[in-house]
Symmetry: C2
Subunit: 702 residues, 2 copies
Amino acid sequence: MTQTPIRFSFLPRRIVSCWYPASRKHFSSTPSTLRAVLQESRNKKSVMATLNTKAGQAVDRAVLDSMLRRRLFYTPSFEIYGGVSGLYDYGPPGCAVLNNIVETWRKHFVLEEDMLEVDCTMLTPEEVLKTSGHVEKFADWMCKDPKTGEIFRADHLVEEMLEARLKGDMEARGQKIEVDTEKEAKKKKKAKSEAIKLDDAVVKDYEEVLAQIDNFDGPQLEQIIAKYDIRNPVTGGNVLPPVSFNLMFQTSIGPSSNMPGYLRPETAQGQFLNFQKLLEFNQQAMPFASASIGKSFRNEISPRAGLLRVREFLMAEIEHFVDPEGGKKHARFDEVKDIELILLNRDVQLSGSTKTETMTVGKAVEIGLVDNETLGYFLARIQLFLLKIGVDSTKVRFRQHMANEMAHYACDCWDAELLTSYGWIECVGCADRSAYDLNVHKNKTGAPLVVRETRAEPLKVEEWQIDLDKKKFGPRFKKDGKTVEAAIDALSQDLREKLALDLEKSGKVEVDVAGVASGKVELEKDIITIEKRTRVENVREYTPNVIEPSFGIGRILYSLMEHVYWYREGDEARGLLSFPPVIAPTKVLLVPLSSNPAFRPLVQQLTTKLRRLGISSRVDDSSASIGKRYARNDELGTPFGVTVDFQSVKDSTITLRDRDSTKQVRASEDEILQALKSLVEGEETWEDVRKRLPEFTGQEVD
Amino acid sequence: MTQTPIRFSFLPRRIVSCWYPASRKHFSSTPSTLRAVLQESRNKKSVMATLNTKAGQAVDRAVLDSMLRRRLFYTPSFEIYGGVSGLYDYGPPGCAVLNNIVETWRKHFVLEEDMLEVDCTMLTPEEVLKTSGHVEKFADWMCKDPKTGEIFRADHLVEEMLEARLKGDMEARGQKIEVDTEKEAKKKKKAKSEAIKLDDAVVKDYEEVLAQIDNFDGPQLEQIIAKYDIRNPVTGGNVLPPVSFNLMFQTSIGPSSNMPGYLRPETAQGQFLNFQKLLEFNQQAMPFASASIGKSFRNEISPRAGLLRVREFLMAEIEHFVDPEGGKKHARFDEVKDIELILLNRDVQLSGSTKTETMTVGKAVEIGLVDNETLGYFLARIQLFLLKIGVDSTKVRFRQHMANEMAHYACDCWDAELLTSYGWIECVGCADRSAYDLNVHKNKTGAPLVVRETRAEPLKVEEWQIDLDKKKFGPRFKKDGKTVEAAIDALSQDLREKLALDLEKSGKVEVDVAGVASGKVELEKDIITIEKRTRVENVREYTPNVIEPSFGIGRILYSLMEHVYWYREGDEARGLLSFPPVIAPTKVLLVPLSSNPAFRPLVQQLTTKLRRLGISSRVDDSSASIGKRYARNDELGTPFGVTVDFQSVKDSTITLRDRDSTKQVRASEDEILQALKSLVEGEETWEDVRKRLPEFTGQEVD
């Protein structure tokens, strides 16, 4: 079984025709990375146990998930109609965090770097996606159980069955492992593991298949299914051979059915198609970047893993267009060159390890590990962005694609991966895609998706030029004239040189012209001249290369929520989400001590003043205790709380509480508002504020 | 031909089954409004001529449009593939304006009023849209030319042909009118008008048909097409009878084809489906509003009119849930009650006039013209929003829906219409939709989309209650028991009262029970008791009503661009877009006098400082003259310009230019930056700044 080179990606991707499908990994796994982790986990500890909160507590995904749903960060779409797998709605706090991430992204990338943001349609005619390769290649393999009608993603099915058998084997060997009972397995529609010992050779076989699971094509999966007797895990029935299933949602544009279309699988195509106009808008100046934020779609066969594998998702993509000549330098590279990244390079992965090394981006480019400055610049900027929104710096790494993961045209590609309870998740891709995308659309449509620039020094090209005596040529070839001329035009410089010698020697040349006469045409020197001459080029024309940082915003949001989640020691039931203020759904909770009407004017006034400062706030004047009200908002990630009590009514002092430390200070309304402004704008930290304002220790009671 | 009551709307709409389709007007026209305007225009002057810029110049739509495309505010999608009608991309300035409008909307509505913003999926399973009525009713009538395969929207076809004939008639009567030549008509694929005089009676007939064009259903359109011999305007061929065409884009969710779905035609459904969770999130407090910003889709048969009729568009919708009892008061109504609105009420429209009256919203609610405070509150808030983003206050009106336009369940509905070169365009709808939407989903799914509140005073209900002696009842009716019991439970209070009398009189009663015995069942007083008793209700359960302000952001953007467009007298070729700073794509243009490197450090420093102030800027250091560079940015709507010249290098003073007046002031860098901040944040006007800083009159040269 040969390993087919594929292009991996968590996000819908462009594919090139000579490569096997747009198959994706389940998450960021690669044979040598996640597999290695799984292997480890199978033998030693679970991946989940390795994911700790910043307070060092193990993340219990079920507890976190239940909190996120209860507080309406997200919810299954159409739940009252039974729901649709892979579709989720964001409720108020989730939607606010999403908006804040997008706004931060826009400031960090679009505004900071003068990118040209565009908003292109999601509806896309088929022809465009044929050119990009998606119609042919953006597919997964699926198997149908002919009896039950159930459909499985073929690689998932193989994986599930073999993993269940390996589990059973470990159990039989007396290793402690969590095993689904038959009843539980049926409920989850998953394969039950039975404690059956396998031959060592079989275990090895299975592990080898699992290690390569993402690399198999349909016929290979079919063989594996037959060889290892893979069946419907619940009923035990046989499944049909895998068939290819295109992952784009198809529809029809307009009233007649003659314009098939799809929902875009990525936002990139619209940017490529508009390249020429964007270049003109940019007054022909290179390099420049376009950017786009919007929904994309992929019709997953059987989505699992919650917010990480969904059918409709928000992306933010940058296409940075750069001259392929001159080493793809970046004018602002110096600003980031000292930033350290945790890198997992391809050679390490090839050796079967997942050992990372920490290196400045300057060094990584210098030693050629990262292909060029522009790519390196974006890796650093991606990391800065992730840290800005609150990602845990110890849970980010950049993994380089291995040669067999990349499309043949790509120079280099790195994924920013975030560590979650699902393992390392690919959240941002950053690829140097060379001139591929612009070229395919240019070739298909003839649109000049190129840059033309006046050369500082005119270029002189020595070349063999051919002249034809049209007066004699025309009558001689009549209707074949154009075909013959085209064949001559297409002659390479080498051939021309050879023909020039022939012509000088024998006074005639023979040229291959398919479809004319015997396929060869003879030309005498009275009709053809071949001479070496100098051509002067004043204009240089080139197709820019594109560096593409591509962000899965929903995945980033989910991973971020795992990173900022923790709970106070001894109080596991009360979770906290320590979003940084810029990302938190609401910045300030206003808490009147009780529902006493005496507090109302002050609360109202604070609301108005905060709004004027551009700080979002919410009032919780419910009858719950102050402690409970704070705890409720800790779950929502509200970083600050302001309490209005009887003292406030007397002297206009209010208290300010920090979510993470639960420490409070007390000062005048103006001082607190000023502190809030600088906290929210990131000019001061809580520590700064705590030091300069008097501590307060009353109030917070459960 | 009877007039079928329809529900009008520019936006995809929910429809109720007993009303004829989701037919929409072509724009905001109604028989008595736009028709009246068209009528006028046919006789006197063109609508376009009536649209003036704020400088009093006639808007030439072709000139404006060409500027908007040239400056990449928008561009046809997939143009290098030939384009797809009804799909447009927004380029950098259009995208920035769109983002700014959305951001302003979010602040004005969501943050200001603590609305619960949600982000729901566009993919929607068929079942949901069956319940909402869209699957059955969201359709237009289309006609096919069997020879050419062309498809026409039936009402558009009739309209076009009759208007062409009326034009021809006017021409024949010697009235000057712009007439398409045959060649032009073919190019536009439009009916050519020939100068043929019509009988007066025929003219009257045609005008009557045109006045009602939006009200005809398929069979009626078929009659009209036959009666007036309507044909393919280009080939003259006959068309087939109209058939209904659903305007939703259909797709299939998941790998098997058993889950048909659609792209949502509006964002509202997701909000309704999540009502229960949102209410819980809001700690059961009423009233509250949800909001959603996102793309919706409608598969137009033959989109025309550029950005005003597109297949994919951005909407912002609010669903304000309110208790139907208590007159739908609004707590903040007092804040807006003195705001004056220009109202076009339904009675005026019924009388065939388009005469508006100006009235405070307080008065409009008081006299019952606007149904309730909550609706009135939103009308005022909608106007405040439109003015904030730069809409011309003289080109806004609120048009009340006539009875035949509204769904039967709606209490009242007003559209905010903006005057454009296409006539009055419906840009925001604001309807009181009663409890319709929550009820249909509740009835379909059984989900409790209701509010339950503890009554302050328990409600005592006097009612006739029926008791059955189960011991006798069961054996008597056996398998029919449940049917009989259900029939008894369903008896109305009136019937119960009558039966109680019967029972007292004759000792037995007769109850109708369909499907049991002879359809009647006799019950004696040993088996049934009917008594008047008092029931105490501690909890009140009700389905909230919903007030729905629904914004077509793309339409607002286009109308706004027409409103802020003008040109300097004598310089028609140079347009300006006078966006208010909050909406302008870029706030400040930085213009070094020349490409002299001496200016670079200062420009760089200004860029950094502006970014830190949160003010977006762009540098134009091209070799064009300062005047030309400013003019280029006037077209983009950049409100302010800063020039760096040799004086600046010497003394750090810079100049600040106002786009609209072209006046300049000169002051120190700090003073100018401070002025910019207060201008952009709306704290000062240009007049304020001009008064307090020294004028500057040099530089601006062409």
